[in-house]
Symmetry: C2
Subunit: 365 residues, 2 copies
């Protein structure tokens, strides 16, 4: 059976190393199109710093319309090195709520999937000690992405000269149910078939509702084992015994924290893809790492997380399972042959530039 697929893919190169890694992922997607006789039509839009420079906002409504009309979006990275600056005071229209959070909400991307896998070949990059790392791990974090503290009402008021700031954590049953289903569906495709739902049900009302809805959903999946874990304990268990996790399901803010912790434990953040999904097959795919402005433009960045994100795009949004697997297998082959980019430099390996890594994956497909 031959499938011919014509698909519209929106590319968002973004800032920092974004354009470089997107270029390599596009190269690989073009190689897939060639090999399997598909037609991928790419449209680029601006987002982040480059959009601010051109239009004064991190994301224009026109750009969102283009993304919405396509079959899937592949994003490089947005934002500069703003961790310590006060950008949000200076210009509220530059905040993530005008960019990243806006695109998530507008495209209805309520489920963020972040695999955290310890590649056997990359044990040395893992910050955990060998006896933990060697056992390996392979988990997917499913983070709710359009609710909770990120999207609740917030304001700062001043009474008698004292400022008070308020953020609101809101979840309704439907929001919890749909993301829980995503987690259970993924668990069904995996060997262990286990969901660990993370909350703070001993304190928060939203977590108590979360827990009860997750338990309801679990009834529809009798083959899946469900376990609940408090968020503070989850932060510990990730470090202590990451192997115990298969699919971790959690709300927006907890998911932000735990998925970053999990990526770091896996060691090679340059290897980890992610997908943000809504209803239907549409999705936005991006590497788990940031825009790394310090190495931008140097042809040094690791494009593999973006290439693996492109594989997730083929699988989830276009249903091209074989093609997705082919990319993933090729990446493993390249690692097995001891090719790495600079971030995973270690004795005995061959260091490639960003563009060389994209070339080798495309050629070996």
């Amino acid at each position: 059976m031959e499938i011919y697929m014509k698909a519209n893919i929106t590319l968002i190169p973004g800032d920092g190393i974004g354009p470089e890694i997107i270029r390599e992922a596009k190269k690989v997607l073009e190689a897939v199109a060639d090999a399997y006789d598909h037609e991928f039509i790419f449209t680029e839009i601006d987002m982040g710093g480059c959009s601010i420079d051109k239009y004064g906002v991190p994301l224009t409504d026109e750009a969102i319309e283009i993304a919405k009309k396509s079959d899937a979006v592949l994003l490089g990275a947005v934002g500069g090195d703003v961790g310590n600056s006060r950008w949000y005071d200076v210009a509220p229209n530059l905040r993530p709520e005008a960019g990243l959070l806006k695109i998530r909400k507008e495209l209805g991307l309520f489920a963020n999937l972040r695999p955290a896998t310890l590649y056997p070949k990359l044990v040395s990059a893992c910050p955990l000690k060998e006896e933990i790392a060697e056992r390996g791990f392979d988990m997917v974090i499913v983070r709710e992405l359009t609710g909770g503290l990120y999207f609740g009402e917030r304001y700062t008021k001043e009474v008698d000269g004292v400022k008070t700031a308020v953020d609101t954590l809101v979840y309704n049953e439907n929001e919890i149910r749909r993301v829980a289903k995503v987690a259970f569906d993924i668990a069904m495709t995996r060997e262990k078939k286990k969901v660990t739902s993370v909350d703070k049900a001993n304190v928060l009302d939203s977590s108590r509702l979360w827990r009860s809805v997750v338990e309801e959903v679990a009834k529809e999946y009798p083959e899946v084992t469900l376990e609940h874990m408090l968020v503070d304990n989850a932060a510990m268990q990730l470090v202590k015994e990451p192997r115990q996790f298969d699919v971790m399901l959690t709300e927006n803010m907890f998911g932000d924290i735990l998925s970053d912790e999990a990526s770091m434990i896996a060691g090679s953040i340059g290897m980890l893809p992610s997908a943000s999904l809504g209803e239907g097959s549409f999705g936005l795919y991006e590497p788990s790492h940031g825009s790394a402005p310090d190495i931008a433009g140097k042809n040094k960045a690791n494009p593999l997380a973006t290439i693996l994100s492109a594989a997730m795009l083929l699988r989830h949004s276009l249903g091209l399972l074989e093609e997705a697997q082919r990319i993933e297998d090729t990446v493993e082959d390249v690692l097995d042959s001891n090719y790495r980019t600079w971030d995973l430099k270690s004795p005995g390996i061959k260091v490639l530039k960003t563009s060389q890594m994209g070339d080798i994956v495309s050629e070996w497909l």
Copy 2:
């Protein structure tokens, strides 16, 4: 100069291993009283499961009154192994808000201090790989303890058959200022004199207020270096390079997650004390670990975290600096002589029971 001190100390043995570890800490405090000619008057109160059994609530108002009238409180551990159960649905009056959160609020304990130290002798207990662990680390997390999501308004409502749950994250300037001062005061007593304030200022209004108040407070401490870090990044950096932290300052929920992650990274959670402080010298001291019901009553638990908490009590609440230091030095001596409890069992060490560990620390003082 001789100081004679008469002090009232409230003991809360609590549940699980609580009574065993409190017994040993009391032994050590009595040895200190003997050695330095102080008089410590101990009063025990019930809290947690044992209080529920007797009075139907985890903490009675009478018990709180006793604690309030004393100079300091030493707590073992409360709560059973409830991580997976639905205790909070069955009986809201058994929730932490009727116990642990109530005592924190009623006693005005707004600053929770949790040191996370990697003892050179205990590198093997650290889950991080040797090249990170060997460099060691020594940080204190200062967590705001009576505000934020834990104490904001919460409710669950049902509209047209759909339940919605709401929790509220509230901070005012004064709450932020007083806990920030605690962090900067601690930084001033340390070598590195660095405060890392953790927030999510790119999304939350409460974090933006947090950041601006912390910056104001920093102006009063020109010798202290202040750095801001986003909470997701902090969760990563703790694993990647814990050595970079000196004093970490954060709000209640982020502090809950990060302090547990930090304890786990230090490896030996049985070694880590904590202090919860308010205005003035009053404080509540407890080990960072839980009630470990699985090993309760077996004379197996590690009492050192509680003994080190008693040292913090002497220092912060009673101003007995020399006595506190003496306990801490003795604990180091005991470790140097390769005595450990069962949790830190490793080749070449001598395993002591809970009571033997209390004995040896008291005798070697």
